[in-house]
Amino acid sequence: MEKRFFWLRSGRVITGLSIIALLVICALFAPWLAPNDPTEQDILNTLVPPVWQTGGDWTFPLGTDGLGRCVLSRIIYGSRIALTVAVFGALGAMILGSVLAHIAGYFGGWVDWVIGRVVEIWLSFPPVILSLILMVGLGAGLQNVILAIIVVDWTRFCRVLRSDVMVVARRDYVAAARLLGFSHWRTVTREILPATLPLLITLMSLEMGVAVVVEAILSFVGMSVGAEVPAWGQMIADARADIYQAPWTLILPILAIFVTVFGFNILGDGLRRTLDTRLTQTERA
């Protein structure tokens, strides 16, 4: 295998990428993959069990919910919401958090102090509470969910990356770059960023999993995209009413969330092991 793709040798990375690929395929080709319209209510066929149970019907492979909507189609369409928040929420939090981390770690002094205090204020909010309050202020909707994820989770990047930047910024080659007359911008982007990039990519992967969970939580309490859009958290909230008659309507979206988050986490874990140059060969295996 080519040297630059050495990280593909990790089983964890492969597993994570496979799960994410499956998610992407579901999201992109939802109209072709889903057997039914995810929002169509079939009042004559409510709470149909999955095919492997008696009374199951291949029209609804994973059964229907309390309003007669196809569970499989709703799970497939739900991946669109999950993937959207994972990509844009994590990307936004990463950009905001890592820019501030690089500024704080590189310049130090009062800039670092101010950013540190802001992070501290943010950390006194439990993430669930802060995102709920933000949704109250912003109002429901996909864009606002993404905005809430960015505003709440940038500290995850900022806290961890800042100390990494500080270590790198004190290395000799960074001082050499400055002595050669590199601007601050060039020093940070050409000399420091390549060294902090592995950690940044790892955190990004983990944050995508977090974003999926946050969206599910907000849907679950009815503060996300609205009841008419198929989302996994919304499915869980709807299924609670039929917990005795139709436990599968609750179990299936739980599994969908778990598998997706596991995919992002195992990818992050694999990347950490393969990209982190400080780990020894044995720890990486």
């Binding site: 950390l123 909010f125 509470i129 309050i133 202020g137 109002g139 436990p247």
Partner: protein, 339 residues
């Protein structure tokens, strides 16, 4: 208590004040973006525009934002958190009625998180280098992927609905005597009232929500304990203890664990802060009458005074947790104590 501990406590209490001011300012500003008009919300739907305008002035909504914040914060200092728009009662009463339930749940969850975290960390460390370790390690990644609300729903399905082993609605069963509210902590109140049956029922109701919450907070604790134990085992005093013929078990518990516990403790402070926020979700799943349900109901009713106060209370609890952990850290760490 010794001098340095008191000094730290005093310093933390002093920094608590500016932190609280900034936290409440942030909270206030976010909630002022709310698209609904609090004045119109607090009047019956057939109120005239003149009445709404009069209400706006009465509530101080015509003043600049910073002045509104000043009025709110000034009232808080005097113990006046305003009245609920929906329930028409003092917010402070509603919060004080629900806070003990949430604290009780969070404390039980912290006990489980510590238990699972420390036992899991020791297990991970004990099996290091073997095949079992790589399986367990994958297991921790899987555990990290299950947030508290998924555990909560899963336990409710498995132990509540399917196996019918444990109750999963509220704090007490239907036929159980409710003790007189003295502290608000059901476990304490039922003991004070001398009713062991109520006490046991309350414990049964707490098991599923607190285990769900504890399990979600445990995996990071396991991982940091394992990795600090790895570091500690490189130290000379472990080799010396071995040469003195001390058994491996004794070395692990009395020599290594004691020293590996400090980094674990500071992580636990962060985890417990997250855990306290997680009570909200578990409370909703188990219809547990705590602050989380109060908050979500208030959000549905756009009941601003409750949302503000409950939000602030969550922050105060997180700050208190981190303060307690800091003090514990100092008490347990002789190096810092002497400095």
């Amino acid at each position: 208590m010794s001098g340095p501990v008191m000094k730290l406590l005093l310093r933390r209490l002093l920094t608590l004040i500016p932190t609280l001011i900034l936290v409440s300012l942030l909270l206030f500003c976010i909630l002022r973006m709310l698209p609904v008009d609090p004045a119109a919300m607090s009047l019956p739907p057939n109120a005239t525009n003149a009445e709404i305008e009069a209400m706006r002035i009465e509530m101080g909504l015509d003043k600049p934002l910073i002045q509104q914040y000043g009025i709110w914060f000034g009232n808080i200092i005097h113990g006046d958190f305003g009245a609920s728009i929906h329930y028409r009662t003092a917010v402070s009463k509603l919060v004080l009625d629900t806070l003990p339930a949430t604290i009780e749940l969070a404390l039980a969850a912290m006990v489980f998180a510590t238990l699972f975290g420390v036992l899991g960390g020791l297990w991970l460390f004990y099996t290091r280098g073997g095949v079992v370790e790589s399986v367990l390690d994958l297991g921790t990644v899987a555990l990290l992927s299950i947030p508290e609300f998924l555990w909560g729903l899963f336990f409710m399905l498995l132990f509540g609905v399917s196996l019918d082993l444990l109750p999963f609605i509220g704090r007490l069963g239907a036929g159980v005597d409710r003790p007189e509210t003295i502290t608000g902590f059901l476990l304490i109140d039922s003991l004070l009232a001398g009713s062991p049956l109520t006490f046991l029922d309350a414990i049964r109701h707490m098991i599923l929500p607190s285990v769900a919450l504890g399990l979600s907070a445990a995996p990071p604790i396991m991982r940091i304990l394992r990795s600090t134990l790895m570091d500690v085992y490189q130290e000379d005093y472990i080799h010396q203890a071995r040469q003195r013929g001390i058994s491996e078990g004794r070395i692990l518990i009395f020599h290594a664990l004691k020293n590996a516990f400090l980094p674990t403790l500071s992580l636990m402070g962060v985890q417990f802060g997250f855990l306290f926020g997680g009570t909200l979700l578990v409370e909703i799943i188990y219809s547990y009458p705590g602050m989380g349900n109060l908050m979500v109901d208030a959000i549905r009713n756009a009941d601003l005074p409750i949302i503000q106060t409950v939000g602030l209370t969550y922050c105060v609890m997180v700050l208190l947790i981190s303060m307690v952990v800091d003090v514990l850290y100092l008490v347990l760490n002789p190096k810092l104590r002497e400095a």
